[in-house]
Symmetry: C2
Subunit: 402 residues, 2 copies
């Protein structure tokens, strides 16, 4: 069945898709790879515009082929790839590729996300072609955002502003973290938030982000970010739990807004009453770090320079031991790429050897975490332009007191 | 930092964990596998009680070893495994295993979920041991639920009852699907729902389930279930969208409740006004199928008998073409296992050759889907006991009219 004409969904424009595909084809040629098979949802959406059950084959030159298992009709509506065909089984994928494309010595696949069993099946089905990993090539292309993508990120930032604007009116002493989360998530959903946050790394996951208060904002977890939190059970051990929110403790809202698949990551500190002087000072240092990063970062710099800029301010402030966590649960980065996945490239650590380029989008998140007392800090999503960082997310920076 | 004493989280009891481990060890011995490395979150939670960043090695006999990267302190609190050690890097995993366990010719890993790149690293790091897939052994054990697990499922069913009880009071003509979703999700969250729904299959995902009305409940998607829906964008193309809910059309709420990681899957039809006679009749057939399945299913039967029971009633009713979807977007099952993942074993299709056993838990979901008109049907989570099916989820069956 086709969609009623009243329904307006935002499809990725054809020119946008083909720009991405051409960039990828150049990289394939440079790396002597004859084509790549794309299947993981975020990559598939990026290159084809659809998230249906489908395989996209991108040859090193010419038109790609989209093979759809379910829903074929819907993939046709969503994707502006010219060559779309239905398939019933996995066996048809290599058959179709070999019949439409020649000279396939090396085929790229997404080895960082493809399960081992599927990889082994492909290896046998694509013989005599050699399968090579193109996940880093894909992630490299995706790290530079287009004007179209920046527009989506700005819309996601507007949704985040709407959400943050509600926090103060919901907060009251004795409310539980999970109750605050429930109401803010409802604001997101009414604003068209898809709910799910996509992450690429194996075994990483997050539900919107972290809403945490006091000691719970300093309670560590498996999660790759600076905070953890109890969560509601050991089965999902992060973010908001049943802790009641008290006066005079930091309340960290670190949530991810989404528009048409594009994500922004943003955090602010709220408080009912007043914070201890130590936390206020650390929070000011975090803001100073953010502002310094915005002022000093330029394309051409190395990622580790960005990290060191932040780290040096943390050291000078005397709060080094609490910067991005404490003891063995400290994390090693100050910023991460973000787009259709929360954990995009580049990750900015002390050893990141990557040249910063215009179009890269980062969530920059300086924070200090004090055991038993809580987390302070700020996070914003920003784009590197030819002249420096430009903030995409927005909301008043200082601690918001209720 | 340790948790304040006021915080009560439900940890999996030691006896429960060790019963599971012993069952698995028996299967390892039976299959001549000397031990297994467990890392995927759902499996790790099932066998160790923790979802921290950790690797669990289960030898074919004796005590397992839990190696934790982050958070070590928290894994110690959450897991009652006796032997827990901290590790800093992936390289330490084989080193620790080889030093603590001998005679490791064959090591089992989760090849259905482990990414290809990690698999290749393991293959080299565990030489000369042979790596074999134990994912089906794990899933087989997990398909039989203990009394402890059934208790968690019953609590999740209570949460679902609370959610379904709210639907009628929220529904009004002109409300959008996404608005209804926002309010019901808030009910869940306040009740302690973790939010995220775990699925095992590669590229499968769902956000709580599907809230759909009229034509949108018949709009197909990639998703492995009978319904799809537009979603809010092609980036997340399923479930509630911006469609307004009208009078005299079916409103399907098919949502997944969770308690301590354990999920129940349940669906009911609501309506403002009246439904067309055709849909009412099809809905009655779906209820008839469910009741027949409950009445007739016994341990020892084959999965395909269960499927055929349902299919034959659908055929007799004259609605075969709309049973579990239509045309090429039909799905091939009538029920699926459920527990700490939404897509557990067994899946009940026409070709499922599996003997039904006491303790198996299924979401049974007979439905009929008519293009442009919508979906009707019912879904409940139930456990097979020695004498037959017992329903876990509950809520009045007939269409609920507002």
């Amino acid at each position: 069945m086709s969609l009623p004409s009243c329904v307006i969904l935002n499809y990725t424009p054809k020119q946008e898709l083909f720009n991405r595909i051409h960039k990828f084809q150049k990289l394939l040629i440079k790396n002597c790879i004859n084509g790549a098979l794309i299947v993981q949802k975020a990559d598939l959406f990026y290159f084809s515009g659809t998230c249906q059950n489908a395989h996209l084959f991108i040859p090193d030159e010419g038109e790609p082929l989209l093979m759809v298992k379910k829903s074929f009709e819907r993939a046709q509506a969503e994707s502006s790839i010219n060559n779309i065909i239905p398939v019933q089984s996995l066996e048809e994928i290599p058959k179709n590729i070999f019949s439409q494309f020649k000279r396939l010595d090396k085929i790229g696949i997404e080895m960082d996300v493809l399960p081992a069993n599927i990889y082994i099946k492909y290896k046998s089905a694509f013989q005599p072609s050699e399968l090579v990993d193109v996940s880093m090539l894909i992630r490299e292309i995706r790290s530079i955002k287009s004007t179209y993508e920046l527009d989506k990120l700005k819309k996601a930032a507007n949704l985040n502003f709407a959400m943050f604007s509600k926090v103060s009116s919901i907060l009251k002493e004795g409310i539980r973290e999970i109750d605050l989360a429930a109401q803010l998530e409802a604001v997101y959903r009414v604003g068209g938030h898809q709910g799910a946050i996509r992450m690429r790394a194996f075994n990483q996951e997050v539900y919107y982000g972290h809403i945490l208060s006091g000691w719970n904002s300093a309670y560590p977890s498996f999660f790759g970010g600076p905070t953890g939190g109890t969560g509601v059970s050991p089965a999902y051990p992060q973010s908001a739990g049943f802790k009641t929110i008290n006066k005079n403790e930091p309340i960290k809202v670190d949530y991810v807004g989404v528009c048409d698949g594009y994500m922004v990551d943003q955090a602010r500190i709220f408080c009912i009453g007043n914070l201890p002087e130590k936390l206020i000072k650390a929070h000011e240092i975090a803001i100073k770090i953010k502002n310094h990063i915005i002022k000093e970062t330029r394309p051409g710099m190395n990622g580790k320079d960005l990290y060191n800029m932040a780290y040096n301010i943390a050291v000078d402030s005397g709060n080094k031991d609490y910067f991005m966590g404490y003891t063995e649960d400290k994390i090693n980065f100050i910023a991460h790429g973000i787009g259709v996945e929360l954990d995009e490239l580049p990750l900015i650590t002390q050893s990141t050897d990557v040249t910063l380029k215009p179009g890269m989008v980062f969530a920059v998140e300086p924070s200090f975490i004090f055991p038993n007392e809580g987390a302070v800090g700020v996070e914003d999503t920003m784009v590197l332009t030819a002249t420096g960082f430009e903030q995409i997310t927005y909301f008043d920076d200082p601690i918001t007191y209720s």
